[in-house]
């Protein structure tokens, strides 16, 4: 709800309201706003549910720094990022 309010204030087009926002800092950190849940989690792979798609992160030393209110912060050394429908 809070996210939607924010988006309305920022006048983001209706078309993109349900899309997850992904922010990357090099290949060391990724912030996903709009993460619904974790689909798969093992040592080298994290697959996240971001609505219509799944975000697949492959890498090493991956740590879920926090996962709260639909915002997931993941740190590590990402080797591959892909979207799976």
């Amino acid at each position: 709800m809070a996210r939607k309010k924010k988006e309305r204030k920022l006048q983001i087009p209706e078309l993109y309201l349900n899309e997850a926002k992904i922010e990357m800092l090099g290949n060391r950190e990724i912030i996903i706003d709009g993460c619904i849940g974790v689909i798969e989690y093992d040592e080298n792979t994290i697959k996240l549910n971001i609505g219509d798609l799944a975000l697949c992160l492959v890498g090493t030393d991956m740590v879920i720094e926090s996962f709260d209110s639909g915002v997931a912060i993941i740190r590590g050394r990402f080797a591959e990022i892909s979207f799976v429908s």
Partner: protein, 392 residues
């Protein structure tokens, strides 16, 4: 940083979860509002951190996802205090230390002076001390503007002063007055005459007529550069003569041990004084004496002196000694006098060669010092002109 501090303040638990489905476990935790952070997947196990409340409600979630949860570490202030409950002394020590630091930070730790070129640091520090700017006084009691104004009125040579308080450190910034240059009065008619006997080495005339050539011998008072100009028609006019006249001058002086008064040191006393935040604790007694001096030695940090140190005080009385001293001492005294004289000569001349000869005397040891010096001997001498109204 703030989040980490709050987590430490309220306490958190590191745990390990294994078996079952890690993804389902994380999803259920999020759904149940159990905060998780630092979630790592290592060798099939999950390690993560959660709040104390979160950990208490994690078991049903773990059961649903088929995982077993074991706490590995409890971190937080309350756990720290619980762990060190038996070590109350450390806690009391930390509290006392904090209180001491808090109290001492209210006082002045060091006072320093910057910007002075000719005025002595000690003179300025003692002037400011008179108006309360000193080590050991409460910072709040210092009226920096008033102190600066009062010291500026006391010391005329100061053109500006400012007392800057930086925490417990006071830096006094000063600027000294620049003396007005001496006005060279070139309106008076003058001659340049010899100030001493010697042999002329060089003459550089700025104004006037050169009256002497290099190589000539002159005695004190001889005219070197004349300020009287004679015109072709026989008329004369006076000007302000000036120039540089360098001559080889012979210096000679006899020294003996009687030139210097000898004193005997009586009641010599040395004592140490502990200095702590402006409080001086003397370690011993010391009466009033004719001579008193002290040497301060303070603890020092990287930048400033600390208000902690030892002052070594020295006091003594002197009585004039008339007794005959041994030959070695007599020699030392005479040579010391000689050295003082050489230092005096070197201030205004260049010594070409010098020699010291021992002169045998019945009563005392004498030394004769002689030197040849190159020095400027020209001295301005005013020409007195009588003005008359009768022009024929």
């Amino acid at each position: 940083m703030i989040i980490q501090f709050l987590r430490y303040l309220f306490g958190y638990i590191n745990f390990r979860a294994f078996g079952g489905f890690a993804d389902r476990f994380i999803n259920l935790c999020t759904k149940e509002g159990i905060p998780l952070w630092n979630v790592k997947h290592i060798n099939g196990n999950i390690t993560a951190s959660t709040t104390v409340g979160g950990y208490l409600s994690i078991r049903p979630v773990a059961r649903k996802s088929g995982m077993r949860v074991i706490s590995t570490d409890k971190i937080g202030l309350k756990y720290f205090l619980k762990k060190h409950k038996s070590r109350v002394g450390i806690l009391i020590g930390v509290i006392i230390l904090s209180v001491i630091i808090a109290i001492l930070s209210q006082f002045v730790w060091s006072v320093s002076v910057v910007g002075n070129t000719t005025l002595d640091d000690d003179l300025l520090l003692s002037a400011f001390e008179k108006y309360g700017v000193k080590v050991g006084v409460p910072v709040s009691s210092i009226d920096n503007d008033e102190a600066a104004t009062l010291v500026m009125s006391d010391i005329e040579k100061l053109s500006w002063a400012s007392v800057n308080i930086k925490g417990s450190v006071i830096v006094i910034e000063v600027r000294e007055k620049t003396d007005a240059p001496e006005i060279y009065d070139a309106s008076k008619p003058t001659n340049v005459v010899a100030g001493e006997d010697g042999v002329i080495l060089s003459v550089d005339v700025l104004y006037g007529n050169e009256e002497i050539k290099p190589g000539s011998a002159v005695t004190k008072g001889d005219l070197l550069i004349s300020g009287v100009i004679t015109h072709k028609d026989g008329g004369e006019k006076t000007i302000h003569a000036d120039g540089y006249v360098k001559a080889l001058v012979k210096k000679q002086k006899n020294f003996s041990s009687s030139d210097i008064s000898l004193y005997k040191i009586n009641n010599e006393k040395i004592r140490k004084v502990i200095f702590f935040f402006g409080i001086k604790i003397p370690l011993g007694f010391m009466g009033e004496s004719e001579f008193f001096t002290e040497h301060k030695s303070f603890a020092q940090s990287e930048k400033n002196l600390l208000p902690l140190g030892i002052i070594t005080q020295y006091s003594a009385d002197f009585s004039e000694e008339k007794t005959v001293v041994d030959v070695t001492t007599e020699e030392k005294i005479a040579l010391f006098s000689n050295a003082l004289y050489v230092r005096e000569i070197l201030e205004y001349s260049e010594v070409r060669n010098s020699s010291v000869k021992k002169v045998e005397n019945q009563n005392e040891m004498q030394y004769s010092f002689s030197a040849q010096c190159e020095q400027e001997i020209g001295v301005l001498q005013e020409i007195y002109v009588e003005k008359t109204d009768d022009i024929q």
